[in-house]
Symmetry: D2
């Protein structure tokens, strides 16, 4: 089952700068080989359900290994049974609507 995910990892009880932790999340995703796109409030990822969830788990393990004691994460995800859809398809679909309206 394919899944398209947006997730945001929020370390708790660290300093104010979260970018070292978001950078580590990016490194975990690069090593995972999953297609992912960073945006201002999280990271979009697509792939097989188990691979994507394993990558998010690895992010938690990597941040705990960096000394982050408590982590809050938000995940938004979508699956569909009718057809495969990529993250690029979703944005294209809206842009086509905007162009023709």
């Amino acid at each position: 089952m394919k899944v398209i995910v947006d997730f945001t990892v929020v370390p708790v009880g660290t300093g104010l700068s979260l970018s070292p932790y978001v950078a580590e999340v990016e490194r975990v995703l690069q090593r995972s080989g999953l297609h992912h796109v960073l945006h201002a409030n999280g990271t979009n990822v697509e792939g097989e359900w188990d691979a994507v969830m394993a990558a998010i788990r690895t992010c938690h393990e990597a941040l705990h290994a960096m000394g982050v004691v408590r982590i809050h994460t938000d995940i938004k995800l979508g699956t569909r049974s009718d057809r495969e859809q990529s993250m690029a398809d979703k944005v294209d679909s809206v842009n086509r609507r905007m162009a023709t309206s």
Copy 2:
């Protein structure tokens, strides 16, 4: 790694009543044996990361099997490396603060 999760499953492209689908989510969780509590905007679950994530995946599979073509799910989750904390601990901790302030 233990995780405390809140998740909300939103079927897309069905009728307006979502309760048959939320009831199915509840049934999946009951069969999982995981401790879970339904609330007005989702379900709280706690357990080992892989068991909880497998249960959420099973919810998607069960709803697709009921004919739901597209599913949007939100997950909020927390892990901590210092100590185990249960869902009941979290609520108790706030209630103690309220009582003593």
Copy 3:
């Protein structure tokens, strides 16, 4: 427009215990007069859109006033145009499904 909301306030850059901040959120909601229910991963609130959103804004202001420099908040919300539905209705509706299945 009525709204049913679940929200979670996550202070960033503080200590590990978040209960003092969640307790402050509870106090803000009590003063707001809005119907609200604390659960293990957030707080459910219902009311008029502007009143609920004003209360969440007041939570941010109150936590910044306590010295929290950075705050991450998740909100899940629902509106419907066909009829009024309360938080209790939503849970009852699922429980009725469970009882009759």
Copy 4:
């Protein structure tokens, strides 16, 4: 109080294609004058708290006016009291970390 927001509007009880509704959300944001960026799982927006929340409310009103009876929306937001930070700053900050590691 400035806020950086990611939000996703999920119409319930409509057809499977959500792009007409996401396009309407984009139109509302364009008319709002707020800086916003569409991504595969939502839209990022930044601005004054009240202006951003008013825009999200207008999205709900616009979709209900299109005939959507029930709407589920997820919002992730951040405020900070120490300094102004833009959406571009957040991405730049992570990219700098990646480049120097």
